[in-house]
Amino acid sequence: MANKQMGFRPSAFLVWVAVLLALAALGGAAILYGFWQGHESVYNASRWMPWGILISTYVFFAVSASGMCLISSLGHVFRIERFEPLGRRAVFFAMISLVAGFWALAGDLERPWRLAIWAVVTPGFSSAIWWMGVLYGLYLVVLIVEFFYLSRAEMVRRSPASSNPSATASLDAARQRLKRYKSFAWYAGIGGFALAIFAPGTLGAVFGVVRAADLWHGPLMPVYFVVSALVSGTALLTLAIVLTYRLGRKEMGSVKGLVQSLGKLLLAFLAVFLVFTAWRILSTGNAADFLLGRLGGNFWVFEIFMGILVPMVILLIPKTRTMLGIGLASFMVMVGMFLARYDFVVAGQLTSAGREGQAAGLGLMPSLTEMLVVLGSFALFAALYLIGNRFLPLSEHTEAESHR
């Protein structure tokens, strides 16, 4: 809190939010600069490789959002008690992750404001991007509805009426409202769960239908993206919980069990993901081109070693499976995932038909403008989380208490 005796000193919270929002605004300025100058002059984009880090950042955030909803559905849709505390935090996370993703995506569309009109008036049903846009848009709406009712339910539970056994009339009323809110939230949760499977599926299809791209083409992509969602959703959720408690210097207490469960879940998903990654790469004709090519180093070091193998080891050995260990493993998975998405988007284009002879001459480093946009979207994510954490009912303890 501000210390009035020493004059006006803004609290750490305000400083952080201001800095992050400024960074997000900087990212926004970079996006506008891109509209003005044209993407090919300010981004590392060309007619042979038009998609870059902005698309991969969007994929990263969108896939994480879907994953987080899938994990939290284990709790409040399928009623697996161990995961019920996740509820609101996970849904809120999914919402802001998707918003950050859309922010990065807006930077890659030359004329994004046209999307809202023409996607409705002249829809391209055969386009995987159309389906992906519609499903993720719907998903965001469903998440908002779900979060609204989950929060309402939480507010009812926290209100004095519900904990005062002597005021029976208002207690009954509170119970009725709680039941209604919980049921609406449950319906929204089912919708969110379905969309959290279909939406990353269509995102995978965006890449999978492109016959020109050997590395992407095939029916495996939608499934691979759903598995990716499970991995990155679990990892991001775990990381967020560990960070929130550690940085907020709160006692982890009852959440320890939850984090341990999430860690074990992450281990299982990573094993499946490793198999799918191998399958995806080996089933393409020019796997060697990618594995031993310019992005090969990135792949082996970041995607496989740092992103899958080391976290798996940390999560496997009980001694390293502490709160810190699980948090570290989750962080490594997220970094590996982020770079894996970049490799995926870039390598797919480099080895596409129609780009022969050009690939060798294309630079792989994103431009400054692109990196500012990406930084902006991460900053937006963090800023929204800080604000939500402060003002919205996200904490798990009350949920756990109400079950006693």
Partner: protein, 194 residues
Amino acid sequence: MKKLGIALGVAAALVLVFFVGIKVVLGSSIPAFQEKSSKRIANLSIEYSESSRCQACHLDIYNDWLDSAHKNGDCDTCHGPSQAHVDNSALIVAVDKSGELCALCHSRLESRPSTFPQIIVEEHYSDKTCLECHSPYGSLIADLPLIPHTLQGRTNVCLSCHRAGLLGAPKVPARDHVGFTSQMCLNCHVGSVP
């Protein structure tokens, strides 16, 4: 379970309404937008004209050109976009007469077909400009020697006699024919005997 059933039923109904709504009602407008776009593109202005339009005013040159070695191209091949001149004859289309335009096509490149007339520019009369001897609308220099013998069984082997001047055949003047191959002879020389 019943809750789930109702939820699924409602969701399915919404999905159906959504698709019918979008596809039937709004999707049907797509052809209209496409036709509007095609119309706009079809009505764009043109820059390059066509040789038959040059004929109206430049009949002599046009007739010469039709018989020349350059007949496969078009007037605009060398003269550039001339629609502006067709619309307003005061606008003259300048053409490069320095020889660089000629060299663009006729300089020797390994990837060019061997039957195409090409010269090594530095070794072919580098003290003169192309137009001093050649006309772009005519065959070439006015008195090119005609071929006084039948070509039966003698195509693509001209240089076997004419390079060294064997059997009384006129020797090919090296300076005019640097880098030429036998396949190129008939591009310029005409036979006088069937």
